[in-house]
């Protein structure tokens, strides 16, 4: 039974090598780009490394930027398991943050641990329900979820501003409208003594849990069947709509929790600073991670590092802020383009069966290969159905 494992290993290697190659390619392209701007690419690489991962300070800087991205990336990656392309994490984040701030203020009299728990709970609920709206619109009204989740984000931000500048406003917040503060006692501390807040801890736990759920539970398996072919899943008797809504709720809940972490660890109240674009960068993270919840962790840290290093480039080389956005854009394009490379490299494919193995093993291999073929077919179906929408 060595061959299926070898095949799996090859596939894992492929899944690692292709995005890494794409990222490397984007670094090379970026080097050419900065050379065109008249800067020394090696100096730029050196500074970027120094700014992102060159010291424990730089590491903490990168990790704190990665924390919200991990959770907003899950808002893309979880619905993606069920075949949905949700890009509305920003809306779930701001409403999650608002729900947390309101809960934190309203329940201020309870013990801090209970308050924190309630803030997290309401944030997950708010974000989850918001993204479920996009899932529901698709399942029951046939509305494209990509468009609806994007539009729901605008509504969420408008609603957020309306409430924060209106009924929920703390009259003491003069020039920057904000809700009432949740109070110092209810704030989240730092993550195991690092200068990184607990949002990172939430992200890591959420990612690992979701990875296990997706890859090793029946629920996750059902989700992936729905994602592969919803009609087949329905024929097989799976509750497709419920599964889609569950995936949306979990994803939206993750983004809502990111909002709670921003409120409870950084701002202490909900204000317009929550609308910082984490939801959009999360899309990038999810795609580079190929919607794998576990892969989101290193990818988010990498993106956090790129963002941290952007400051270094601005300060030392006087390059504009957009410089690292160019790198992000190149990475995104190359990773997407590299999707077509899967299965093209011989070295990752299982070796052909050799004569000395008996028939049983051969059958096993054939079954394994057929499984792979089915998997590829499912992926193609998703890809083409996405194109056709």
């Amino acid at each position: 039974m060595a061959f299926p494992d070898a095949g799996r290993l090859g596939r894992a290697m492929e899944a690692l090598a292709i995005p890494l190659g794409a990222l490397l390619g984007s670094m090379v392209l970026f080097g050419l780009f900065v050379a065109m701007l008249g800067k020394n690419p090696l100096e730029v690489y050196g500074l970027m490394f120094q700014g992102a991962f060159g010291s424990s300070f730089a590491w903490q800087n990168s990790l704190v930027r990665a924390a919200p991205l991990i959770l907003t990336a899950l808002c893309v990656a979880l619905p993606a398991q069920a075949g949905l392309m949700i890009i509305g994490a920003e809306g779930a984040l701001v409403l999650g943050g608002l729900a947390a701030a309101v809960a934190g203020h309203a329940l201020g009299g309870l013990p801090p641990f209970m308050v924190k728990l309630a803030m997290a709970g309401f944030a997950i609920l708010a974000g989850g329900v918001w993204i479920s709206l996009a899932g529901g619109l698709r399942q029951y009204r046939g509305v494209n979820e990509t468009i609806s989740s994007l539009l729901l984000t605008y509504i969420a931000i408008a609603l957020f501003n309306h409430l924060v500048e209106g009924v929920l406003r703390d009259p003491g917040s003069l020039n920057k409208p904000a809700t009432y503060p949740i109070g110092e006692a209810n704030m989240l501390g730092s993550f195991f003594g690092f200068d990184v807040h607990w949002g990172l801890g939430f992200g890591i736990v959420f990612c690992v849990a979701m990875y296990v759920m997706v890859k090793h539970t029946t629920l996750g398996f059902s989700l992936r069947i729905v994602g592969g072919n919803a009609r087949a899943a329905r024929l097989a008797g799976l509750p497709v709509s419920k599964l889609v809504l569950a995936a949306c709720f979990l994803g939206g809940g993750a983004a809502g929790l990111a909002g709670m972490a921003e409120v409870a660890a950084v701002h202490g109240a909900a204000n317009a600073s929550l609308i910082a674009g984490y939801g959009y960068t999360g899309i990038l993270a999810a795609f580079i991670a190929r919607q794998n919840p576990l892969a989101i962790l290193p990818v988010a840290v990498l993106l956090g590092g790129i963002s941290a290093s952007g400051g270094m480039l601005q300060r030392r080389l006087d390059m504009p802020d957009a410089t690292v956005l160019v790198l992000q854009g190149m990475a995104f394009m190359l990773v997407l383009a590299a999707e077509t490379l899967y299965g093209r490299f011989r070295i990752f494919e299982p070796k052909p069966v050799e004569e000395k193995y008996d028939r049983e093993v051969t059958v096993g291999t054939v079954v394994a290969m057929e499984k792979d073929a089915m998997h590829n077919l499912a992926l193609t179906t998703v890809a083409s159905s996405r194109q056709s929408r």
Partner: protein
């Protein structure tokens, strides 16, 4: 041997690197230095023809001061990112004076960093630094730019034919309302019948909405517009295209509207920057709460455009001279808001330094709109 390089060694190396990173920071914290590194942080792009550009112009001029190195970072959101940017400037670049130029940087971000780095001076634009509540190495500076908006209003009052002015605002907060009210009062000092139509876009940088607002004001017959948004670029350009007059804000936008640009309310932050830099260099105490207007050179007017009639220039210059001498009061009673309620009783004159003005929450009579 390389296989012996385990996780523990890596951690040690990281810790050593982290320690090394703080050394230049420690070195530059001595008093009365002849060399100093100044960090400036912007919320938007440095070339926005507006709020950030006004700060960046001061930073650029500060670079020319002897012994000063200015490091800048733009488009830093008002999140934990700005804390990390400040810390990076201090730990990685050795900055000992930081200008945090966006309102939302103040609380909690800058306060937290000021507590963490007590030897670094933090100057914030727009906040309300309060003795006893905020650390002594933090402070806030701001300018009475409503004086310039009042003068904008005086000029606008002279050139308007429809007697309808427009004001495009980002958010209905005290700083914005004070400008709007000053602009309206300035125009009403020329003709009390003049009204101002207010449009609130909802956020600091929404170019599409700002253009829509300008267009709709022109369609309603408004013939002079000014604004309070981060970048007045789109508003100024739209006014020029629609053939009406416009008064600038934050920085000089005359290049964008050669025909319709009357004048503008500009910041002159170099006054504040050079003051803080000199104090830090000589080891003089940090001035925590700094405010100033035309008199102190914190704000200035754009040069008059060619459409401004001589009578208008004369009137505006006369008022400006009085403001500079400290003899002119913009907000004085009796003053009613646009619902008819008296907001400043007769006989009361509010000086520019009066903190009550920094809590303004009404629209003066003649402004159409609601807060």
């Amino acid at each position: 041997m390389s296989s012996n390089f385990n996780r523990r060694d890596l951690l040690k190396a990281l810790a050593a690197a982290g320690l090394a990173g703080t050394v230049p920071g420690l070195g530059s914290r001595a008093f009365a230095a002849d060399k100093m590194i100044v960090g400036v942080i912007y919320v938007g792009p440095r070339d926005d023809y507006g709020y950030n550009q006004a700060q960046a112009q001061a930073a650029a001029a500060t670079k020319k001061m002897p012994g000063i190195t200015v490091i800048e970072q733009e488009k830093v959101p008002e999140t934990v990112e700005v804390q990390k940017t400040m810390a990076s400037m201090i730990e990685q670049d050795g900055a000992s004076l930081i200008f945090a130029t966006s309102f939302g940087y103040f609380d909690p971000h800058m306060i937290k960093m000021a507590e963490k780095y007590p030897k670094v001076r933090f100057a914030h634009c727009g906040g309300m630094w309060t003795e006893g509540k905020h650390p002594s190495n933090a402070g806030s500076y701001f300018g009475y730019i409503d004086e310039c908006q009042y003068l904008n209003g005086v000029i606008a009052g002279h050139v308007t034919k429809s007697k309808k002015l427009g004001f495009i605002a980002a958010k209905p907060i005290p700083q914005v309302l004070r400008n709007l009210n000053a602009y309206t009062l300035g125009a009403q000092s020329v003709d009390p019948k003049i009204t101002t139509q207010l449009i609130v876009t909802g956020d600091w940088s929404l170019p599409v909405k700002e253009a829509e607002a300008a267009n709709s004001l022109v369609d309603q017959g408004v013939d002079v517009i000014t604004c309070h948004v981060d970048s007045p670029k789109v508003v100024v350009e739209t006014c020029e295209r629609r053939g009406i007059y416009v008064c600038g804000y934050h920085a000089n936008q005359s290049a964008l509207a050669p025909k319709g640009y009357l004048t503008g309310a500009e910041w002159n932050w170099l006054t504040v920057y050079s003051m803080h830099v000199k104090d830090a260099m000589s080891g003089a105490p940090f001035k925590n709460f700094v405010r100033g207007g035309l008199q102190e050179g914190f704000v200035k007017m754009s040069p008059y455009g060619k459409s401004v009639p001589d009578a208008a220039k004369k009137k505006a210059d006369a008022i400006k001279a009085q403001v500079i001498k400290g003899e002119y009061v913009i907000f004085k009673g009796p003053l009613k808001d646009n619902t008819g309620k008296t907001v400043i009783p007769a006989g009361t004159s509010l000086k520019q330094t009066d903190p009550v003005l920094e809590q303004m929450n009404y629209l003066v009579e003649g402004v159409s709109g609601k807060v």
